[in-house]
C-alpha cells in the first residue's frame, strides 16, 4: 500500500466518480458560498452579525447546546458503562433504542416533545404544578430537544473504547489497593477521555446547528428563544441572502473552532496517555 502505484486497477474510475459527485454535491455549492461571501461588504457583515437579536440568537444556540451536551456526556458515560460492564434485562433493548434520535425524523421528535412538555402536557404539567417551571417555549425546552438529539453521540464514541480496555489494569489497580473510585479516575477515565471529548464535540456541533426538533419546542420569541439557524431561515424567507450568509459564516466559524478544539484536545490526550504508557 505504501508504493505509489497500486497493482489494483480502477484508480481512474473510482477517482472520477468520487470527484464528480463530490463536486456537484459539496464543492461547487461550497465555492458559491465563498464567492458570495467575498462579495459581502465588511461593514454590512459586521452590522448584521452584531445586531442584538442576532447576538442573542448565537447566545441561545451556544448556551443550550452546551448544557445539553454536558448532560449527554454524563448520561452517555452511564449508558456506555452499563452496556459494556453489566448484564441486565432489557440490555439489548437499550442498545437498540439509543440510536432512535438518528432514526426518528427531527420534526417528529420536535412536535412530540413539545406536546409532552407544555404546561398541560404529560410531563410539562408535573414540572409546572410542582415547581412552577415551564419547559416548552423556553430555553429549557430547547435544551430538552437538544438532549434528545445528542443522546447517541457520547454513548457511541465511548462504548467501543470501553469495550477494548483490558480488565487486567483494573485488577492490577485493585490489587495495588486502589478503591473503585480511584481505579475509575486513574485507570479507566484517562483511556476513555478522548472518546468523551470527541462525543461531546460531535453532539455540541450537531446541537448548535439543529433546527427541526427545536423550532417547535422553542416558541421562537425574539431575544428569548430564537436560535441562530432559525434567524438564517427567517432572513432566507425574506430573500435577504446577504444577511443569511453573514449569520451562517459566523456559525461555520464557530463549528470550525469547536472541531479544532476537538483535534487539539485529542492530540494532547493521546500524547499524555501514550507518554505514560
Amino acid at each position: 500500500m505504501n508504493n505509489r502505484r497500486s497493482v489494483i486497477p480502477g484508480f481512474g474510475i473510482s477517482l472520477g466518480i468520487t470527484i464528480t459527485i463530490l463536486s456537484i454535491v459539496v464543492l461547487i455549492p461550497l465555492c458559491s458560498l465563498v464567492v458570495f461571501s467575498a462579495k459581502l461588504s465588511l461593514s454590512e457583515f459586521v452590522y448584521t452579525v452584531t445586531r442584538p437579536r442576532i447576538l442573542s440568537g448565537y447566545f441561545v444556540s451556544i448556551s443550550t447546546a452546551f448544557i445539553a451536551s454536558v448532560v449527554n456526556v454524563v448520561m452517555g458515560l452511564i449508558l456506555a458503562w452499563i452496556l459494556v460492564r453489566y448484564d441486565f434485562k432489557g440490555k439489548r433493548f437499550i442498545d437498540g433504542i439509543i440510536e432512535l434520535p438518528f432514526a426518528l425524523p427531527t420534526a417528529v421528535a420536535g412536535i412530540s416533545l413539545t406536546h409532552l412538555t407544555t404546561t398541560n402536557g404529560w410531563v410539562g404539567q408535573i414540572f409546572y404544578k410542582l415547581f412552577g417551571i415551564k419547559i416548552a417555549y423556553t430555553r429549557i425546552g430547547i435544551t430538552v430537544a437538544l438532549i434528545f438529539i445528542g443522546i447517541p453521540f457520547v454513548v457511541r464514541s465511548v462504548q467501543p473504547v470501553l469495550e477494548k480496555i483490558d480488565i487486567q489494569y483494573e485488577e492490577a489497580a485493585f490489587i495495588l489497593g486502589a478503591d473503585s473510585r480511584t481505579t475509575f479516575r486513574k485507570v479507566i477515565f484517562p483511556e476513555i477521555l478522548p472518546a468523551i471529548i470527541s462525543g461531546f464535540t460531535l453532539a455540541f456541533a450537531r446541537s448548535i446547528g439543529e433546527y427541526g426538533s427545536v423550532v417547535f419546542i422553542a416558541g421562537n420569541t425574539p431575544y428569548e428563544t430564537e436560535i441562530a439557524p432559525l434567524l438564517i431561515m427567517s432572513e432566507l424567507q425574506e430573500y435577504d441572502y446577504s444577511a443569511a450568509t453573514s449569520i451562517a459564516l459566523v456559525m461555520l466559524g464557530i463549528s470550525v473552532i469547536i472541531l479544532s478544539i476537538n483535534a487539539v484536545a485529542q492530540g494532547i490526550v493521546s500524547k499524555r496517555v501514550n507518554g505514560k504508557a
Binding site: 497500486s6 489494483i8 486497477p9 452499563i82 439509543i98 432512535l100 417528529v108 439557524p229 432566507l236 456559525m251
Partner: protein, 276 residues
C-alpha cells in the same frame, strides 16, 4: 469479592437512571405520538394517513430517499475504494470534504444550494434557459437530501475495507482480474453488511430530513412538500391528530430501521466470526 458487592448497588442505581432517562426522553415521545394519532379512532387515523396530500408527500419523500440512497451508494463505494486501496496526495482533504456535510447545520446546507442555484447565482441564467428549476422545486429537495446523508455509506465502508487490507485484491489483480471482477468477487462479499447498514442509516436520515429540505422546498402542498414538511404544515394548522398520524408512519419506519440495524449487526458479526 468486596468490589463485586459494592458494584451491585452501583449497578442497580446506574441501570435505573438509564431506564428512567431513556424512558422519558425516547420512549415517552413515541408512545405519545401513537396515542395522539389514534385519538380519533382507527377510522380517523386511516382518514388522516390516506389524505391525498399525505400520500403525495410520502411519495415525494420516497423519491428523494431513493435518489439519495442511489447516489450515496455509488459515491460511498467509489470513495471508500479510492481511499482504502490507493495511496495518493490530498487523501486527507478528500476525507474532510466528504465528512463536511454532516457537520454543517441543515439550514446552512439549504443556504449554500440557494446561493448556488438561486436567482442571484451566475448559474441561474444557464439553467433557466434549459427550463431547469432547482431551488423551491423537487431537484432542490433531492440535492438537499443527498447532501445531509452524503458520508453515511462511505463512513461505514472505510473502516471495514481498512481492516480487510488489500492483499486479496492485489492477488486477484496479479492473476489478471479486472476492476469489476475484483470488486464483485473479492471486495463486495466483505463489505455487504456494512454497505447494507450504511444504506439503512442513509434511508432513515433521508426520510426525516427537515431543515435543509425546508429551505429548498417551495412548500407547495402536493408538489414540493415532503412528509416531514407536511407534518409541520398540519401542526401549524392545529391539526394535531393529522400531524401525529402522519408522524406515526415515520415512527414505524424508524423502529424498522432500528430493528434492521440490530439484525444486520448480528449477521455481520456472525460472518466475521466464521471468517476467523
Amino acid at each position: 469479592m468486596e468490589l463485586r458487592k459494592e458494584n451491585k448497588v452501583l449497578k442497580y442505581v446506574l441501570v435505573t437512571i438509564s431506564f428512567i432517562f431513556l424512558g422519558v426522553f425516547l420512549i415517552l415521545p413515541l408512545i405519545y405520538i401513537v396515542i395522539t394519532a389514534l385519538k380519533d379512532g382507527i377510522a380517523g387515523y386511516v382518514n388522516a394517513v390516506s389524505d391525498e396530500y399525505a400520500i403525495k408527500a410520502a411519495l415525494l419523500t420516497i423519491k428523494a430517499t431513493v435518489f439519495a440512497v442511489i447516489v450515496n451508494t455509488i459515491f460511498g463505494i467509489s470513495a471508500a475504494w479510492l481511499i482504502t486501496k490507493y495511496a495518493f496526495k490530498g487523501k486527507k482533504i478528500l476525507s474532510t470534504f466528504i465528512d463536511l456535510p454532516v457537520t454543517v447545520s441543515p439550514i446552512i446546507a439549504g443556504l449554500i444550494y440557494v446561493l448556488t442555484f438561486g436567482r442571484q447565482s451566475s448559474l441561474y441564467p444557464i439553467l433557466d434557459s434549459y427550463g431547469i428549476q432547482i431551488i423551491f422545486a423537487v431537484p432542490g429537495i433531492v440535492l438537499a437530501t443527498i447532501f445531509v446523508t452524503f458520508p453515511f455509506i462511505s463512513r461505514e465502508l472505510i473502516p471495514v475495507l481498512t481492516a480487510q487490507g488489500s492483499d486479496e485484491e492485489e492477488a486477484a489483480a496479479l492473476m489478471g482480474a479486472g476492476t469489476a471482477k475484483i470488486f464483485r468477487k473479492v471486495t463486495f462479499p466483505h463489505i455487504k453488511w456494512a454497505l447494507l447498514y450504511g444504506i439503512v442509516l442513509c434511508t432513515a436520515r433521508a426520510m426525516g430530513e427537515f431543515g435543509a429540505v425546508s429551505v429548498l422546498s417551495g412548500h407547495l402542498r402536493g408538489k414540493t412538500n415532503t412528509l416531514p414538511l407536511y407534518i409541520e404544515l398540519l401542526y401549524q394548522g392545529y391539526d394535531f391528530t393529522g400531524a401525529f398520524a402522519a408522524s406515526s408512519i415515520l415512527v414505524v419506519l424508524a423502529i424498522v430501521v432500528l430493528i434492521l440495524r440490530l439484525v444486520i449487526e448480528k449477521r455481520g458479526q456472525k460472518e466475521l466470526d466464521l471468517n476467523k
